[in-house]
């Protein structure tokens, strides 16, 4: 049985991720991310770079390559970490129904 995300048990990893979206993570956060990063529907969230090292937006790659990639107009991120945080929040909501009302940086 694949691990099922439980808001109460996994909430402890939110702050760890916010502090360091990319890098070495605790085993608990790594497990959470491994689950969050899989979409059983076959879609894939991607990071579209509009200007190298300056501007990114999110995109959605569909399961079927014959269909076009959908690129969001915004939000426009100025760092990859900021985008990671936005995707984490969206996925957390999709799995738990809860909103994370925290900005990337205080």
């Amino acid at each position: 049985m694949v691990y099922k995300i439980e808001a109460q048990a996994d909430r402890q990893y939110i702050e760890e991720f916010r502090r360091k979206p990319i890098g070495v993570h605790s085993p608990g956060l790594q497990r959470l991310l491994n689950i969050l990063r899989h979409d059983p529907g076959g879609s894939q969230v991607i990071l579209v770079c509009r200007r190298p090292f300056a501007e990114w937006v999110l995109g959605h790659m569909p399961p079927n390559r014959a269909d076009p990639i959908q690129i969001e107009d915004g939000p426009v991120f100025t760092s990859r970490e900021e985008a990671e945080w936005e995707v984490f929040r969206r996925r957390w909501r999709a799995h738990t129904g809860e909103d994370i009302n925290l900005p990337f940086r205080d």
Partner: protein, 750 residues
């Protein structure tokens, strides 16, 4: 999105030779071009920034240009065939469809697309054997068998056509019947159109289109196609394969012959030999393969199948847009044609750098007074990774990277243009692995400025553009060096290395043919000094085609990090017959060449080295001159450290020379830095670098018996640390210490 793309007709060019560039300009009617020497292709603001040196040349200026297209999909074409529709005939073949539900896949066609005349035998309507007849006067009719075929099952096909009576007989018979499964199909009846006689080529696995392209490709294997005059029953297929009536043979192609080549031999009296276009896969198991023999060289009659793919591509075949004759005095090195068709913005990139290398003169008589240092550009690895598209096709990639998959404009273009064909890491649209990769097509990730989804947090560079970190450091240090490519080494062997005292590799020299391996080993054994500046080198065996330039083959056999696995029985290269796979499984582990071998990979963040047990050995004193630090490389553009992406370590039992010194070893790796498959039989629970003591890079040095030496950084990320702190850092200093000593002709102590 990209608005201008292209490719050179070669990756290596000598002074006096001409290199041609083929461009597709997707906006406007022209482009500007200039020749540049490539120094640094990484625009990360944390590093030294982009560096290109303009070299005034005859190509400078404006050139006309327009859109060029790629017509992918492999097929066989046979010229000089008689018009099949002039008499009754029967087509027999064994097929193994891999996408049967895709409509309109041609088995065989003799078709005039302008007149809509002729015959097309195909899979249609969910995988049913069908025939389309066109009379050229407006009547086109299709008839089909009554049931669809299944995916990846062998079928005996019989198609009999009597044009005079418009009578068509179709049979598809599974060689392996299954209970409760109805996949045998047939049709017997009259078509609503007569086939018009076409005095044109016969095609297999494709059909000519009105726009001049070849389309309606078949995905799957075809074995033993045969055309007989007259009508023959389906149940005689096997008997006819063994003993066809000679007088009735129109053509009988035997794909088990000439497997390394591009011709399909017709064993019939007409000699209607076929020409295979865009390299369909050969040396493939046929319908009659039993497993008793795994090499096509020893039992070719079991390897009579060709696997055609609708997305095979050998040569994009674009028109030349501009050509340059290399001046005799142009210094050997990395270069690119910089082309642009306008200003780039956040929606589109309107420039490109078409990378290539200027090598020393081809004639050994002209190769006088060469510098002592040679950079071996790993162009076979660049080709292996050409248009690497796992970020598009593999849904595990984000987990593996430990971060979101970044798509630049080149990646968005790649997504929209699968016809450019992907890399040796990808699979064809039918799920079979891509085993051939050509350089005669745009190679989007072999370009300065390309930032990869794969290349480690930070700069995100992998292969070619990661190697520009090394070009830049050599330039900064004022090192005079020559460049040759893998392909040069394959073709000319050790003769090309003999002029040099030091060979420097790229960051990930992973793919080597047998002649390349032999040449490098002979050069090392003769006293050469190898600076292995990366990780996971000398890993996969490859082969070059004997007729076609610029294409390599890999078989993902048996073991290793494999994004796809070759089918059992298909481990031997079709180009050479050699057993393919990783060199380690062939008995020549990388350790034998460069002193270390592949141990772990992880793509999120990099780490550092700590001085090792042999750092204070007097034999290594020259390496640590001016470097007293305990920690080495805790900085860098590739993942933030010098030890990352792919790591190697010393393993004496695999062939690392017993005198290799472990100068330093990396530590504190991420849990995502994982032990590689070939290192275990039973899957251990502690694969990650945070729990497995074997996950480490060994910075290594050792002398060779002929007075030469090996130096291994054992990490792909190493070169990303060279420029830190304006090139004043311990990674740069160590590397420079080694290079200085390696250039010194004084033999190393033996």
């Amino acid at each position: 999105m990209l608005r201008i793309i292209g490719y050179p007709d070669r990756y290596s060019v000598a002074p006096g030779e001409t290199i041609a560039f083929k461009l597709s300009v997707e906006e406007g009617d022209g482009f500007d071009a200039r020749l540049v020497r490539v120094v640094h292709g990484d625009c990360n603001p944390e590093g030294p920034g982009l560096k290109f040196v303009h070299v005034p040349s005859a190509v400078d200026g404006r050139h006309p240009g327009g859109r060029q297209r790629i017509d992918a999909g492999s097929f066989m074409v046979v010229d000089g065939m008689p018009a099949l529709a002039k008499g009754a005939f029967t087509f027999f073949a064994m097929i193994w469809p891999t996408r049967p539900t895709v409509a309109d896949q041609t088995m065989l066609a003799q078709w005039d697309p302008q007149r809509q005349a002729g015959i097309r035998i195909a899979l249609s309507d969910g995988g049913r054997l069908s025939v389309t007849l066109g009379d050229g006067a407006g009547a086109v009719a299709t008839v089909a068998a009554n049931r669809p075929m299944l995916e990846r099952q062998w079928y005996s096909l019989r198609v009999a056509i009597d044009p005079a009576r418009r009578r068509v007989l179709l049979d598809q018979r599974p060689l392996q019947p299954y209970a409760q499964t109805a996949d045998a199909g047939s049709f017997s009846g009259v078509a609503a159109a007569l086939p018009g006689a076409v005095d044109g080529p016969v095609y297999l696995a494709g059909s000519p289109e009105a726009d001049g392209s070849v389309g309606r490709h078949f995905d799957g294997k075809i074995d033993g196609p045969m055309l007989l005059a007259g009508i023959y029953p389906a149940e005689e297929h096997h008997a006819l394969l063994r003993d066809p009536p000679d007088a009735a043979i129109i053509a009988r192609w035997d794909f088990a012959q000439e497997i390394p080549g591009t011709s399909a031999v017709d064993t019939g009296p007409g000699g209607h030999h076929g020409r295979l276009v865009h390299l369909p896969a050969r040396g493939m198991k046929g319908w009659n393969w039993t497993g008793e023999e795994h090499s096509w060289t020893r039992k070719p009659e079991h390897y009579g199948a060709i696997h055609f793919h609708s997305d095979d591509l050998y040569d994009a075949g674009w028109e030349t847009s501009v050509a340059l004759t290399i001046p005799a005095d142009l210094r050997s090195g990395p270069y690119a044609l910089h082309v642009s068709c306008g200003e780039s913005d956040e929606t589109a990139t309107r420039e490109d750098y078409l990378a290539f290398f200027v090598r020393p003169p081809r004639s050994s008589a002209q190769r006088k007074n060469r510098p002592p240092v040679l950079l071996l550009a790993p162009t076979c690895s660049y080709m292996a990774y050409a248009n690497h598209a796992e970020h598009i096709t593999a849904r595990l990639a984000e987990r593996q990277m430990g971060r979101l998959l970044t798509f630049g404009h080149a990646d968005l273009w790649m997504y929209d243009h699968p016809e450019v064909c992907a890399s040796l890491y990808d699979s064809h649209i039918d799920g079979s692995g891509i085993c051939y990769s050509s350089r005669l097509r745009p190679n989007l990730n072999m370009s300065p400025r390309y930032h990869s989804w794969l290349g480690g947090h930070g700069s995100g560079l992998y292969q070619y553009n990661a190697d520009t970190h090394l070009f830049d450091w050599l330039d900064h240090r004022g090192v005079d060096y020559d460049v040759i490519t893998d392909e040069d080494l394959h073709e000319e062997g050790i003769e090309l290395l003999k002029d040099y005292r030091v060979v420097i590799t790229g960051t990930h020299p992973e793919y080597h043919s047998t002649p390349m391996w032999d040449a490098m080993k002979a050069w090392i054994d003769g006293g050469g000094r190898l600076m292995y500046m990366g990780g996971n080198g000398w890993y996969w065996r490859i082969a070059f085609h004997r007729e076609l330039p610029g294409v390599i083959e890999v078989r993902r056999a048996e073991d290793g990090i494999r994004t796809w696995a070759a089918e059992p029985g298909e481990y031997h290269h079709s180009f050479t017959g050699e057993y393919g796979g990783i060199w380690r499984r062939i008995g020549r582990a990388p350790n034998v060449i460069c002193g270390v071998g592949f141990i772990a990979q992880g793509f999120d963040v990099s780490s550092y080295y700590r001085r090792g047990p042999d750092a204070d050995n007097p034999r290594a004193a020259f390496i640590f001159e001016g470097v007293r630090d305990e920690i080495i490389g805790d900085f860098g553009l590739i993942g933030g450290g010098a030890a990352g992406i792919e790591l190697d370590c010393i393993t004496t039992s695999l062939g690392s020379p017993p005198n290799m010194l472990r100068l330093a070893s990396s530590e504190a790796h991420s849990p995502m830095m994982l032990l590689v498959n070939e290192e275990f039989g039973v899957v251990p629970p502690n694969l990650g670098g945070d729990q497995n003591e074997r996950v480490r890079a060994d910075l290594a040095f050792g002398e060779t018996p002929a007075g030469g030496a090996l130096f291994a950084t054992a990490s792909i990320a190493w070169c990303g640390s060279l420029s830190h702190n304006n090139y004043e850092n311990n990674v740069s200093r160590l590397t420079w210490n080694v290079l200085k000593r390696f250039i010194d002709p004084t033999p190393f102590a033996v």
